[in-house]
């Protein structure tokens, strides 16, 4: 996978991940890092993408946006090739009358060289005068990594076009040399002698002087091929001499149009790869990925869910008015240090059970109450409890034992008290006693509050 492709795929994946929860991303990437560690692989963006694609069974498809750039580069190449043919045909246009002016060709070559250099400079500094055009042509919005590569991609396309231009130009020249007689000459208004012109040409021909000496023009050729548009042609008058220029023209084209373009195209490709690597290396998504891979995933113990498994908090029971009773049992320290006056008065028996009392003491309490209840016509026991404490299994056991001992038909009244003797227990505290009474499921077990507390109204509907 090329560096650009890798960068784009990585950037796309980071964009896709924006919609995922951070906790999921952390788990996923940490897991991947641990797997890599086990296999002895150093995880990088490439391995990471391969891993994700493999699991998603994604096929490697050519990047659509890269395809667009490939098409653009192809378009530049085709246009360059066509321009190359037509430009060379234009430059070598010779109808048999006048010479083909070498100076024009040389100027054109220099212009090409300058254009090539300008393209490279533009890509190096990242200047994009044509950005608006791309922006209008593309339907893509938002900053992507590809947009940051545009100067380099554009340079690559332009140099490819330039290279094709040079190549077809050279081919056209060679074809014309074969099929036509081309009469080159040189001409200038400037007061330049053949010697200085020859020096210039020698300087230009230096790169290939040892490679192809015949393509370096000699002074005699320069002297004999100068022409002026008006008046007589230069001395010599040998038409064969005019054709001797073509090796020089071909080599100048090769060395000043094609070779620089080729070199700069290679530079653009290298620069593009370097830039793609640098963008990937500094991609904030990569930093975040490294962090996720390096940091252990912490599960705080939140896997178990049972919130839906709530107990049934409804109750069909209601509070009953407190009946008169002569027997009172304080359960687990209820009514300490002092019982409400309305409960304490008029009691023949005031007993304690539960809490600090031993089980044996509980049994004695049941026994004592049994003796009192046996004497009553409608036996009633008030069992005073701490309303805020939950009813436990011990109380249920106590009631079970008591029922076995006490006379049949004994009514047991649970009386929950609030922590503050003057207050009423909170509604949820009363409810737990109502539900307890319901759960124990005994006849003649009820819940009542101390008279004078208004809570009765809450529950009496």
């Amino acid at each position: 996978m090329s560096d650009i492709r890798l960068l784009l795929d990585f950037d796309d994946q980071v964009h896709r991940d924006h919609n995922q929860s951070p906790a999921f991303l952390h788990r996923r990437d940490r897991r991947f890092a641990l797997d890599c560690q086990e296999k002895g692989i150093t995880p990088g963006p490439q391995q990471w993408l391969d891993h994700l694609n493999r699991l998603s069974q994604q096929q490697e498809t050519p990047h659509i946006r890269l395809r667009r750039w490939r098409a653009l580069t192809g378009g530049f190449a085709a246009a360059g090739a066509l321009f190359g043919i037509f430009t060379m045909l234009g430059l070598l246009f010779y109808e048999g009358g006048q010479r083909i002016n070498l100076t024009v060709i040389l100027l054109f070559v220099v212009l090409q060289l300058l254009l090539a250099l300008l393209t490279t400079v533009q890509s190096l500094v990242g200047w994009q005068p044509w950005r608006w055009l791309l922006h209008n042509l593309s339907n893509e919005r938002g900053a992507t990594a590809l947009q940051q590569l545009q100067p380099q991609l554009m340079a690559r396309a332009a140099h490819t076009g330039g290279l094709c231009f040079g190549l077809t130009g050279l081919l056209t020249l060679l074809v014309l040399v074969v099929v036509q007689d081309l009469a080159f000459g040189w001409s200038t208004t400037l007061d330049t002698g053949a010697t200085s012109y020859h020096r210039l040409l020698q300087f230009l021909a230096w790169p290939w002087h040892s490679l192809w000496p015949a393509a370096v023009p000699e002074l005699s050729l320069v002297e004999s091929t100068r022409f002026f548009r008006s008046g007589e042609t230069a001395a010599g008058e040998d038409p064969a001499l005019w054709g001797q220029w073509w090796p020089f023209v071909a080599m100048a084209w090769l060395f000043y149009v094609i070779v620089p373009r080729l070199g700069l195209l290679l530079l653009a490709v290298i620069h593009l790869r370097y830039r793609a690597q640098a963008l990937l290396k500094n991609h904030p998504g990569l930093l975040a990925l490294h962090y996720r891979m390096e940091t252990p995933a912490v599960d705080t113990g939140s896997r178990h869910h049972d919130a839906a498994d709530q107990p049934d908090l409804s109750t069909s029971s209601a509070l009953q008015p407190l009946p008169p009773s002569r027997t009172l049992i304080r359960w687990a320290g209820a009514g300490e240090p002092a019982l409400p006056e309305s409960l304490a008065h008029d009691k023949d028996l005031n007993l304690a059970a539960g809490g600090r009392a031993s089980l044996e003491e509980d049994r004695q309490t049941i026994e004592a109450a049994q003796q009192q209840l046996a004497r009553e016509k409608t036996p009633v026991v008030l069992l005073v409890t701490r309303g805020w404490e939950p009813p436990t299994g011990e109380l249920a056991d106590f009631l079970e034992q008591a029922q076995q001992r006490w006379p049949a038909g004994t009514r047991v009244v649970l009386v929950p008290l609030a922590a503050d003797p003057q207050a009423t227990p909170a509604e949820h505290q009363i409810d737990q006693w109502l539900r307890f009474a319901e759960r124990v499921g005994r006849d003649r077990l009820q819940v009542s509050l101390v008279p004078g507390h208004d809570a009765g109204e809450m529950h009496d509907e």
Binding site: S21, P22, V298, T300, H304, D306, A307, Q310, T392
Partner: protein, 484 residues
């Protein structure tokens, strides 16, 4: 297989009387809001393990257990089967073996099972109700088990009897700590975990590691929240509602069209804000939050577009002028850079003045988008509504998001009450450094103009928002301290 013989991680059994907040303590420490917590005795019927895992390696496990139902009966049995103090732990184990299938002692067996397997004891009492000596039987049983123990005074109600509890618990437990499962700060969670580690020498290292990882996770969550807020802010500032009208619809009255698009634009923004909130709640593992703000009562005072929101979260003229000046200057400085300094900073100054003026203009109103009608093309006309015209909206979105984040990150998982976001009174962004204020304003302006942010700019925005969150946290802390 028991954990002690496997010499693995420490296990802590959270035990106590029924309905004293054992599950609340576990929910808060394990950051699990899906533990059944009800004001009903016997909510927990089976013991349930909540392990803290780091890359699948367990550092410690909390075990939530049912409450004691028949402690005096258990103690009677134990006393009847023990000869000397040295056999007490074995006798407790024998009790569990003996009564495993006895329905009367199912709760006791469930809660004692992890302890006889080597768990440390975390005994939880409710400090808001008076001390009761009836707890002594269960405390005695726990002491018989011989395991390292710690008592936690968890205050469920408004009253405070913790001093009497502390004195009584001190006679039975090595360490007694107060811990409010509903309101304890994160640092207190960590401090409690460290205390757990001190119960036995071998537990200190895993508990210290756990504290380290939990702190790291918390910092990371803050960073992730900042990134989520940054993204939502960017999208909400740049959002545009578009509609393409056919030739027949082209004659629709502009006022009516504006009304329709405005409703859609508002709804979209509100939904985006809600998505952000859910994402942050999920990040902090609050998956079952019930909120005070009903999602559909948009026009109430909690609404994103209410006057109340603007007053609470919008920033002052002075703030906007200074931040606007800075942001304008950042833009102007770019021109100076292009002219290689030949404009001698004049562009920065001019940009600053324009920025400040624009910001002040919008300071005391929330300037909402206007309808922009496109030209008729191929018989179709596109009309757009948005993006928002001024950056004040960005501050409102940001303020609300950071406030929500703050409530979520300080909310304990034992909390089952509604999430209520009460408004703030003075302005908290004043605490932010000038450079960050300017950067924030610059980004808000950029988003509003629909200029996209690249990953680097996004990262910078996230960093700035993280500073904003810290500033808000400090401000809240100072306010709470001043309130006390």
């Amino acid at each position: 297989m028991n954990d002690r013989t496997m010499n693995t991680h420490p296990v802590f059994a959270v035990v106590g009387h029924p309905n004293k907040g054992k599950s609340s303590v576990v929910a808060t420490l394990s950051q699990n809001d899906a533990i059944a917590i009800a004001l009903e005795p016997g909510t927990t019927r089976k013991h349930q393990a909540y392990p803290l895992r780091v890359d699948e390696q367990t550092l410690y496990t909390l075990v939530d257990t049912p409450g004691f139902q028949r402690p005096r009966r258990v103690l009677e049995w134990l006393e009847a089967h023990s000869l000397s103090a040295s056999d007490r732990a074995e006798t407790v184990a024998a009790f569990v073996v003996q009564h495993r299938d006895d329905p009367r002692f199912v709760d006791e067996c469930e809660l004692l099972a992890p302890i006889i397997e080597g768990a440390g004891i975390i005994y939880v009492v409710d400090g808001s109700v008076p001390y009761s000596s009836e707890h002594e039987a269960e405390m005695t049983i726990l002491r018989w088990s011989g395991r390292p123990s710690l008592a936690l005074i968890n205050t469920i109600g408004p009253d405070d009897y913790s001093d009497t509890w502390q004195a009584a618990l001190g006679q039975f437990f090595q360490v007694v700590r107060k811990f409010d499962a509903l309101r304890a700060h994160f640092e207190q969670h960590l401090s409690l975990l460290r205390t757990f580690g001190q119960l036995e020498p071998g537990w200190e290292v895993p508990l210290e590691q756990a504290v380290h990882f939990l702190s790291e996770q918390r910092s990371q969550r803050k960073r992730d929240s900042a990134a989520l807020i940054a993204r939502a802010l960017e999208e909400m500032m740049a959002f545009q509602e578009k509609r393409t009208l056919s030739a027949a619809e082209s004659d629709t009255d502009d006022k009516r069209l504006t009304g329709q698009l405005r409703v859609r634009w508002y709804d979209h923004q509100r939904q985006r804000e809600m998505r952000l909130r859910l994402a942050i709640e999920k990040l902090y593992q609050h998956n079952r939050l019930q909120r005070q703000e009903p999602e559909l009562a948009w026009h109430g005072e909690h609404d994103l577009f209410s006057e109340n929101s603007r007053k609470t979260w919008g920033v002052s003229k002075r703030y906007l002028a200074t931040a606007g000046f800075g942001a304008g200057a950042i833009g102007g400085a770019g021109i100076d850079a292009l002219t290689l300094g030949h404009s001698f900073g004049a562009a920065a100054l001019l940009g600053g003045i324009i920025g400040a003026a624009g910001s002040v203009y919008y300071a005391d109103r929330l300037s909402l988008p206007v309808l922009v009608s496109g030209v008729l093309k191929n018989g179709l006309r596109t009309v757009t509504f948005g993006p928002v015209q001024d950056s004040q909206f960005g501050y409102i979105v940001l303020g609300r998001a950071v406030d929500h984040w703050w409530h979520i990150c300080h909310r304990n998982h034992a909390g089952r009450d509604l999430l209520e976001l009460e408004p703030a009174d003075t302005h908290w962004l004043e605490q932010l450094e000038r450079k960050q204020r300017q950067h924030l304003q610059f980004v808000l302006d950029r988003c509003r103009k629909q200029k996209s942010l690249d990953e680097r700019a996004r990262q910078q925005l996230t960093d700035t928002i993280e500073h904003v969150m810290s500033a808000y946290d400090d401000w809240r802390l100072n306010r709470a301290a001043a309130g006390n």
